[in-house]
């Protein structure tokens, strides 16, 4: 899944950013930033895959040319043609990211951020029944996001063409 394990990444981060010139771990904001950077690294492959699939499903080149010949400039093409057609891909990438990040433990613990993962760990060590409830909640959350992809995806126009070229 991940070539560099999260633990290696987070130790690297701590080594570099806990001392000058970039002592980010000194402040909460700085640490939040490190956490975000870590999560971006973790979820990038998922997001990339999703967007890549979306781009392949539509004929970006021809659609761009069609829009251009109708007078559209680059910002319009991006906003009105490409991104609307990537909606499903972007959303599914986002939900995949959400589901990976919500259960993430390593980064959050070592950076000492109050995230969902460490919270579950903490409850598991200190309480008897609550962890079970929390596990069920997290399961529901994950399923809910998967369900949401389905709901959102259904409203969008189908990709590809019924008859014809390519």
């Amino acid at each position: 899944m991940c070539v560099v394990p999260a633990i290696v990444l987070v130790f690297g981060m701590l080594r570099i950013y806990s001392r000058p010139p970039l002592a980010l771990t000194e402040s909460d904001t700085g640490t939040d930033f490190l956490l975000i950077a870590g999560y971006v690294t973790l979820s990038l492959p998922y997001m990339y895959r999703a967007v890549d699939t979306g781009l392949r499903a539509m004929d970006v080149r021809t659609l761009t040319e069609a829009a251009q010949s109708l007078g559209a400039g680059w910002p319009t093409i991006l906003l009105r043609v490409i991104i609307p057609n990537l909606r499903v891909a972007l959303l599914s990438g986002a939900f995949l990211t959400f589901t990976t990040v919500i259960g993430e433990f390593t980064f959050a613990t070592f950076l000492a951020r109050p995230a969902f993962g460490p919270y579950m760990g903490l409850l598991g060590q200190t309480r008897a029944y609550e962890p079970a409830a929390l596990a069920i909640i997290s399961l529901i959350l994950t399923w809910a996001s998967v369900g949401l992809i389905q709901v959102v995806g259904r409203g969008a126009p189908r990709q590809g063409q019924l008859a014809g070229a390519r």
Binding site: L70, A72, P157, G164, A165
Partner: protein, 361 residues
Amino acid sequence: MAFLDLNDVRKSFMQATAVEMFNLKVERGEFVSFLGPSGCGKTTTLRMIAGFETPTSGQIMIDNTDITFKPPNQRPVGMVFQSYALFPNMKVADNIGFGLKIAKKSKDEIASRVEEMLALIHMREFAHRYPYQLSGGQQQRVALARALAVQPQVLLLDEPLSALDAKIRVQLRQEIRAIQRKLGITTIYVTHDQEEALSLSDRIVVMSAGRIEQIGTPFEIYNFPQTPFVASFVGTLNALEAEVRDASTGRIAVDGQEIMMAQPLSGAVTGQKITVALRPESISLNGDASGANHLQGQVEAITFLGSIVRIQVRLERHLFFFDSFNNPHLSLPQIGQMVTVRFPHEACLWLSAPQSEPAGD
């Protein structure tokens, strides 16, 4: 001054030259087809007019304005693609109105123009459908309406019918021509289908290997091909090897049987091997015998093609075919039977370069 003017246009990609010395003047309202096999540079030329490719050298003018280096979104051209390229996220009406929206037209103006275009393509009731809910032919009509909605000065069509099935193709090409006539819009049509080019165009530009082979009306292209390539690419024909018997009178021999060409073979010498072309539709089994050419051979195959019957005849070495219109009272020869076919002198075309095999499809 011509309306659309391509002047010495050249395009090369790295080492390879895609289009060489392209000169064309198109009058306002004219329908011109670029015809050629794939890779002959016809689409590249069209894309240069659209602005998706920049010529390596040369100049492109529309209505006396140099557009050679203008970006595509600032050119007064509309484009229709082979793959329709409708925006899948927009309904038919929004697709047609896209260009007008970009041009910042008022809502009412857009609505009335879209309505007008939908009427033009007879698709009023489809305004609120998404492209995926339409058939290929309908999608291409919407694409045509979308390109025309912004009132371009030149309409470019890049093999618009290639992705459609045969029946729709014929129907839609008539519709395209009717709309083009109605609006009087200057049109460039790229195709590899000679039938499309012949039936639609005012003029045809036949291209091969990046060069223009011939520019002319469909009638000229078909009946008076100027190069061997045009003769073999447009229409079906028989290419026969012949020996010159008398160059000054145009007397030649095919497998020992003498025939006459309509014109003397200037530049040829007696005994030289040349290639002549014979159109299958100009040969008949029982044509007028007086003064016409005739060849004797053995019937080798008879193919029933519906409206015509194609008959293959073997001479000593050569094989050629000819077409006969089908009718219920047609008496066909038997396979293996010896027949004499006739054709007028003008039916023989001299292809200067020898052709290795009969071309056509």
